[in-house]
């Protein structure tokens, strides 16, 4: 029983990380139909921005702010203007390929210019752990989970309760109708890209101490994020959290009770089951098929 709790607790913490990356992924898809295969690198890059700052003596909080600004400009506005805007009219495939290229480019850029090896990363949470029902729970696990939950809830509130948030939702559901209603669709979409970039920076701050800052750290995060988003429901922000945590916990349970060798395959199997029986995702609402 104690094992089970320990596995669930660590799985939930890992899952919260997947969820953070999945969240931005969902937002981009809703707002602009962009499938971003560089989402993992959007998490990786701020880690190195922060490292460059902290190794020069800048305190972590300031480094984080710098990373947020840099990400918002480069990976938010820049990504939209330079990559997404010119490509969106060509359909899904060229854009997806461009993000794949971007993913390779960013990874290799960091590898060639910074380091090929993993780098230690300072944690925002105090080191150490506390006992819980006979298990060991670290402060960083709890902190990650809390922040991830907080972000999902505040994002939900923002989208449902504020004027800007509702305008964004309207754009996501029907662009033409939103235009008729006088919503500035372009600005709204730009906001989404900026939010995505900042969310990725937050994810980076939370996960880099565990994942270690490395050029390819985004690979597995990005992949798990896709599956988390689809499993939870592509058109629901809360779905990303559910999907992420579900994958994290199931990976741990199957890795322990069935076989550690197939742990990495859990997300795919879950994905296949979900699209067979509930294609809109666990929390998603059925959408009209877009052709």
């Amino acid at each position: 029983m104690v094992d089970l709790i320990q596995l669930i607790v660590s799985g939930t913490a890992t899952g919260a990380i997947y969820a953070l990356a999945a969240l931005g992924f969902t937002l981009l898809w809703q707002a602009s139909g962009t499938i971003n295969f560089a989402q993992g690198e959007f998490v990786m890059l701020p880690a190195f921005t922060m490292l460059i700052c902290t190794t020069r003596g800048v305190p972590l909080w300031l480094a984080f702010l710098v990373a947020c600004v840099v990400s918002a400009i480069l990976l938010g506005i820049g990504f939209k203007r330079i990559v997404v805007d010119p490509l969106i009219r060509h359909g899904v495939i060229p854009l997806v390929i461009a993000t794949l290229g971007l993913s390779i480019g960013l990874k290799q850029l960091v590898k060639a210019s910074y380091a090929a090896e993993a780098q230690p990363f300072p944690s925002v949470f105090p080191a150490g752990q506390f006992p819980l029902f006979g298990t060991h729970v670290s402060y960083s696990d709890v902190g990650t989970l809390l922040i991830a939950g907080l972000i999902v809830i505040s994002l939900q509130l923002f989208l449902k309760r504020t004027v800007t948030g509702r305008a964004m939702q309207a754009c996501a559901q029907n662009m033409d109708a939103a235009k008729v209603l006088g919503i500035n669709v372009k600005t709204m979409v730009l906001y989404v890209f900026i939010i995505n970039a900042v969310l990725a920076a937050v994810a980076s701050l939370l996960i880099s101490p565990t994942y270690l800052a490395k050029f390819d750290m985004g690979d597995s995060i990005g992949q798990k994020a896709f599956f988390a988003a689809i499993i939870g429901g592509f058109n629901q922000t809360s779905g990303a959290l559910l999907g992420g945590v579900l994958i994290g916990v199931l990976e741990n349970l199957i890795g322990f009770y069935v076989s550690p060798a197939y742990k990495e395959g859990v997300a795919l199997v879950l994905f296949m089951v979900v699209i067979l029986f509930r294609p809109e995702g666990l929390l998603g609402k059925a959408e009209e098929r877009k052709v």
Binding site: S10, G11, T14, E117, A118, D216, S220
Partner: protein, 380 residues
Amino acid sequence: MKRFAGWIGAMVLGVAATAAAQNGPVPIVGLVELSGPGAVSGTNFNDGVRMAVEEINAKGGILGRKIDYTYNDTQSNPGVAKALAQKAVDQNAYVVMGPVFSGSIFVSMDVTRKAEITNFTGGEAANITQQGNPYIFRTSFTQANAMPRVARYMKNALKLKSVDIIWVNNDFGKGGHDEFLKAIKADGIKLGADVSTDQGQVDFSGAVLKVKQSGSDGVFVYVNEEESARALRELAKQGYNKPRIGETTLTGQKVIELAGSAADGAIAHVGLSPDAPIPAVRAFAERFQKEFKYKPDHNGIKGYTAMYIVKAMTEKIGKFDTKALAAALHGAKILVKDHPGVLMDVSFDKNGDIDRESFMTKVENGKQVVFETLPPLHPF
């Protein structure tokens, strides 16, 4: 026509059709992992060779001839490695250096064997040198040599009756895992939990939980650098207080840097270490750091010493004859007092396996400390 096509071939494929001049530079070719999962090991190995070549050339080369070292990226892919081995043969390489990854060397060594070219590898898998290939030579201990030393230490010094293993499921980890199991069986130590993990695995909670439950007297951790750090952290987190033993990686500088205080107390057998208590090795590590802006790992030493071994033996046979070089290397002993570049006394056996001293190390206050020097298997 033939010349024209050859020229096109040269342009398209980068294969320069060079005739080997008798007095020009000696071509030595590196097949190294500069990208892909083996990038860190391959880069280290390659830079080690480069540094040695630079030093040797600055002092007039070997037998008066300069070394022309060219290297190619295998991308950590055996297919590419095989192709590049073919290319090295086309270039009339005197010696081939690498690859480091066992999976790649399995393929490329057949090519160098057919062409009868002496080939040094960084690979540690035991069966590389067990196929009767007279041209393959190691630059470090094999897992088959290292694991019995680890097992003996567990039995004699730590008095372990049973031990668990956490290993990484790739060609490196699998080979080590199998050799370790053989070694502890020979020493009468029981195997507890046998936990496989993935390269790049982040969450070690399940693995550590299994180890804790098994109730064995200690755990042997055989994974790559980052994963070593994560495993050590998780072991510390779950309050594991039995001996944590590793081989080469577990007490490395990178692991200590990544794991922080969780690495304290970890023990490992290290074949080659830049922190070895040998002035020549430390001086090498410093020069390396200065030149390449990073601290070498054992692969850097492998590449560096391999080049000096080539120099020593070539001077001994007095000519550039790769077949004679391979023949002379079997059973050769190379001492530091004659050839300072080899850093530590080494000898080769009839299979091409290397033998030299090795170290038992421990992490104390964030530093790797050598607490015992183990003699070579076959003392000089």
